[in-house]
Amino acid sequence: GESVGLHLPTLSVQEGDNSIINCAYSNSASDYFIWYKQESGKGPQFIIDIRSNMDKRQGQRVTVLLNKTVKHLSLQIAATQPGDSAVYFCADLGGGSQGNLIFGKGTKLSVKP
């Protein structure tokens, strides 16, 4: 079956540094990926998405990179701020099955002041 997982469960960075959160997926048919941010006590919030025909997509302070060869994607956060502290999930559309996303376990990002 397909799975979406994360390499590191926790990540601690210094304020101002760049953060990189990784995610691996197993379904080679996956054609759409999303990163979500979940702050404590809240629901996940959409950050950025990328389709499989792209290698890179940039947003405001965030960049998602997709490597289809090794089925890996990453979320880069530039100049990490305390407000970035949260759990980050990658999610995979899994080949277009009714739009149901498959979520990974998440990486907890802690930003040290």
């Binding site: 979406v4 469960p9 759409y32 999303i34 006590g41 809240k42 629901g43 996940p44 919030q45 959409f46 998405d49 389709r51 999930f89 559309l93 277009g96 009714q98 739009g99 149901n100 996303l101 498959i102 979520f103 990974g104 376990k105 998440g106």
Partner: protein, 116 residues
Amino acid sequence: NAGVTQTPKFRILKIGQSMTLQCTQDMNHNYMYWYRQDPGMGLKLIYYSVGAGITDKGEVPNGYNVSRSTTEDFPLRLELAAPSQTSVYFCASSNQPTGGVNYGYTFGSGTRLTVV
């Protein structure tokens, strides 16, 4: 716009009791979903709906039921609560996938349920 609204925010149930978790959205989204999130884990799909009158099982549907009588509302029913159903429940909605951009879901703030 309120987005996706879930009630209640917290609930404690005794084993065998039943309850309904309410979810409503005001964005006219066709697709709605119920997920559960166990501590330190990702979200697992319980049920989803692609439109009013249509529902389908997700990954972990046992012990739950849903209905979708209107576009706005997607309640989740627990008939005989069990300790294994202790979790945080999230409702979400999205636009109908069109093959374009942004399949992103809008999530509610969650319901924290404890079964004792």
